[in-house]
Every structure is written in C-alpha cells, then in structure tokens.
Symmetry: C2
Subunit: 140 residues, 2 copies
C-alpha cells in the first residue's frame, strides 16, 4: 500500500502545523489571507467523493478544528472574518487537499476567489513563528 | 421557524433540477462549465460547519449524486472531466451553497477558479432543455 506523502508543491507553499483526526493541517505561506490547507492522510486520493463515510465524518470534525484555527490566525493577523471559504479545487495539484480560508470585505481578493489572485506575500520570520505557535496551541 | 427559500441571486443565475436528500440541486446558467449548485434546505445557514453530523453525512450522499449529475452534464456538453471543484465560498451570496463543477484543461478558466472569471455564457433554449432532462433522469 502506498504511503501518504505531501505533494512537493504543497510542501513548498505551506508549513506543517499539525495532525487532525483525518488530515494533516498546514498554513499557506501567504500573509494576505488566513489560509489553511487540510490533506487527508491517505495515498492516492484526488476527489472529495473518494472519502469513505467514516472519513467524511472525520473530515467534519477536522473542519471544526480548522475553523477555530483559521479564526485564531485571522485574530493574530488583525483581520475580521466575514465568511469562510472551504474548497477542494486541485486543478494544479491533484492530491486531495481542502482549503480553509477566512475572508473579509477588505481583503485583497474580495469578493473573488483567492486562488491565482495576484502574488503571494511572504510572512516575515517572526510573524510566521508567532502564527505557527498560536495555531499549534489550538491543537493542544 | 424560518422557511427555506433560495436567494434571488442564486435563483436568477441557475435553474431548479431537483431535490436530493439534504439539498436542492440547481444547474448554473453558464454554458462554459458543467456546474451544479447544492443548497441545503435549511433556513439561515451560511457556513458548511453549521451542518449537524447527520446533515454532513447527508451532504456526502448528495455529493455522490451531484458527481454523477455533473459528469452526465459534461458528457451531454461534450466535455471531458479531469477534476471536480467542490466549494463553498459565499462571499457574494451568504446563503450556504456548494458548487460542484466539472473541470478540464481546455475549459475557459483552467487551471484558475471559475468564480468571477469572464462573462457567463447563456445556454440556448434547446440545449438547456436537453440538459435539464438528462440531469433529472439521473435522479429517477
């Protein structure tokens, strides 16, 4: 059975935060948006509909934790949260991954989608470190 | 208790196809993409995480039917399907709705997201009628 690994493009664009019930949770390296990526730890998945009933239920639990985390990220970044965007696209990287993004009317891409919008902005090292620490706290 | 109604902007941009276990399913009036919209029949919902455990399980069943439907739509429209995009954004219309879109490398917006991309293309009346009939057949 193939082992779960993270696509190198996702690995490069995000940092590992922790492990949820079904998914690995990562923070997207884009300081414009509080943005998490969830990866179900099963090799070979591409579509949300490939999850079993049990996995789909685990995903719900993971989304609840991810919601808390992304709201905490928004708080640390000093951004309000008007709407979550929860999406699996996978047009560029097929490995199943679910975006959880906190949006508000004054963010860079509002009301459009964030994917492919403009150029990602790097976090400075200390902001990223703080954010990682705060997000891991949610998991404790 | 408030009654379930469909936001008039969603109503204007899509046509009713039928009712699934949890969701009303509608076809987006955009001939560029095989594109369904699922609306959980509960008033006042905005976030995916507001679904109960039972509703989230129903949503899984609905997504399986929606997948069959959107693949059928792609077939009728003569388009291959490389990837599904399954997403709740809701930045413009807050009422909880889940997009189920069939994508392929030669579609208008690939690999970018479809939301806000270019101008929707109308279906001609006979194509729309045919598509509606084929989609309703999946529900029988």
């Amino acid at each position: 059975m193939a082992e779960f690994t993270v696509d190198p493009r996702i690995e490069a664009a995000s940092v590992w935060i922790g492990e949820l019930s079904l998914c690995q949770v990562r923070l997207q390296k884009d300081a414009r948006f509080p943005w998490l990526v969830l990866l179900p730890r099963r090799a070979g998945l591409t579509e949300l509909t490939e999850l079993s009933e049990a996995e789909h239920a685990q995903l719900r639990a993971d989304l609840h934790v991810a919601e808390q985390m992304v709201r905490r990220a928004a708080e640390v970044m000093g951004q309000p949260v008007t709407k979550l965007n929860i999406a699996n696209l996978g047009n560029i990287v097929a490995q199943l991954h679910i975006h959880v993004i906190a949006r508000h009317p004054h963010d860079a891409a509002w009301p459009g989608p964030v994917w492919g919008y403009g150029i990602p902005e790097s976090y400075d090292a200390s902001s990223l470190q703080l954010l990682e620490a705060r997000l891991r706290k949610v998991l404790e």
